[in-house]
Amino acid sequence: MIKVRIPPVLRDVVDGARQLEVEGATVGEALDALFARFPVLRERLTTDGQLSAFVNVYVNADDVRHREGLATALGATDTVILLPAMAGGSR
């Protein structure tokens, strides 16, 4: 199971959870599993199937944009962290 850390601004959607566990071999799969459980998250964080420019995704300390994006592989001890991009993001 992969740990996913939820930022404060999204916690109302996940019943206040700071951290959730999902299955996923890649970041993309983990996020899909998350969105399947909490469809409102998909609404908030994606537009037309693409992750919002306002979200940054990290695997442990690494921004996934510096790795393989959503295809970044996940190991059992990895934590996926969702954080606001703070402003314009990259798109």
């Binding site: 930022p7 601004v9 109302d12 306002f54 921004d63 703070m86 402003a87 314009g88 990259s90």
Partner: protein
């Protein structure tokens, strides 16, 4: 009744707050007042809003002229309820004419907005002053930040005069002088193993866990970032109530660069200046130029730089929060965003110092070098009225320009000195 002491921010009773709350810059949803920076609905960035119509009625050249020359001079257009009674003596930095440098750059009307002279020697004092005021109001006891140097010193000093604790997070390989400055000003400095973007991410995470901590560039960002507008306000007033043809500023996160435009636009919105087609030129170091690269390649995407490689540490932000807005600003106004090699940055520091007597840090060198490039590119014309924003003091980055081995010590005799003078070519 006006208090005229330069560092007393109290202003005339003519002040009526203009701040009208926070709102999402992306979807427009209003946000509740508080230490928030992210929209609940769409995750976009929050920004401050103002009652421009109300401000237009109460603010005039005359009312402003009566006020002390300090940051709170334009308080109606800042996200505060009232100017604080205390604090560092921030703002109203000199706008100096730069005729000698102008000649060297092929210009006729060049001004330097010299923010190297603020209390902690950078423009950041403007932003932190507002953040600290809000932090106090929201009941925070610790002022914190992620910093490439200047912000850390500013947070340290501002916390000191506000009776708050300062904790600053910096990349571990930051210049020793900057770390020393922040520590001497009373901050606890956490040297983090990673570049700025990693430090910044850590700060985002810690706002969750550390109660009572105001991370000025994170959970107070919508308030903090507004301070940069005062650079534009002052330039407009100092140019006798008009905007220049061209403004040049360095781009780290892009916040300053984009807030300059906002400042001039707001002055026009409230009738203090005429709206004018100012061009915005930005400068980035070539070793960390995500926005300049996007500009040069006509791209609509900003590719973050994972490992910045430049002596210009203060601009080494690989993932600029306002990168897209900066790109849009340069394009929309006919400006440009220039990438500057470190060797040209150093030459530009020396050029500014030797022509105008202003010693700026590496980010200032990028700014002057970017101006030179923009002139060569034809973005800036000979007869343009140009203002270059110098954001920090050169004493912070002396290592970048000191060259060669230690000088020989000269014997205290006239002969020895004459020999040295001859060797230096100054006899």
């Amino acid at each position: 009744m006006t208090i005229v002491a330069p560092n007393a921010p109290t202003i005339t009773p003519s002040f009526v707050p203009g701040f009208a709350g926070l709102r999402c810059a992306a979807c427009g949803t209003p946000a509740p007042h508080g230490p928030r920076f992210v929209c609940d609905r769409c995750f976009g960035p929050l920004e401050a809003t103002y009652d421009y119509a109300g401000i237009a009625e109460s603010l005039s050249h005359e009312t402003i002229a009566e006020r002390p020359r300090a940051l709170w001079r334009y308080a109606e257009l800042l996200p505060i309820e009232e100017p604080p009674a205390d604090g560092l003596a921030v703002g109203y930095s000199p706008l100096v004419s730069a005729p000698r440098l102008a000649v060297r750059l092929g210009l006729r009307h060049l001004w330097i907005k010299d923010d190297s002279r603020n209390p902690t020697l950078s423009f950041k004092d403007r932003n932190v002053a507002i953040a600290a005021d809000r932090a106090r109001q929201f009941g925070f006891h610790t002022l914190a930040c992620a910093s490439t140097g200047n912000l850390a010193a500013s947070v340290a000093a501002t916390a000191a005069v506000n009776g708050m604790r300062a904790v600053v997070l910096v990349p571990a390989d930051l210049e020793p002088a900057k770390i020393a400055q922040a520590e001497a000003l009373g901050a606890r400095v956490a040297r983090i193993d990673g570049p700025y973007d990693v430090v910044n991410r850590l700060c985002l995470e810690l706002t969750d866990d550390f109660d009572g901590w105001a991370v000025v560039n994170v959970n107070l960002r919508p308030f903090y970032s507004e301070g940069s507008k005062t650079v534009a306000f002052e330039i407009a007033e100092q140019l006798n109530w008009q905007a220049p043809d061209v403004v040049i500023a360095p781009i780290a996160s892009g916040s300053l660069y984009t807030k300059l435009r906002r400042g001039f636009d707001e002055f026009a919105s409230v009738g203090l200046i005429e709206a004018s087609p100012t061009r915005y030129v930005g400068g980035q170091p070539a070793g960390c130029a995500p926005v300049a690269t996007a500009f040069a390649t006509d791209s609509d995407t900003i590719n973050p730089v994972s490992r910045p490689d430049t002596i210009v540490r203060s601009l080494a932000i690989g993932s600029p929060a306002d990168g897209l807005r900066s790109l849009a600003l340069a394009r929309a106004t006919g400006g440009s965003i220039e990438a500057v090699e470190d060797v040209d940055t150093i030459a530009a520091i020396r050029l500014l110092a030797e022509t105008e007597g202003i010693l700026t840090e590496t980010a200032g060198g990028v700014t002057i070098a970017a101006l030179r490039s923009a002139v060569e590119r034809g973005v800036v014309g000979t007869d343009d009225e140009v203002v270059a924003v110098i954001t920090g003091n050169g004493l912070k980055t002396l290592d970048a320009i000191v060259d060669g081995p230690a000088r020989d010590v000269i014997e205290p005799s006239l002969d020895a000195f004459a020999a040295w003078a001859a060797h230096e070519g100054v006899s």
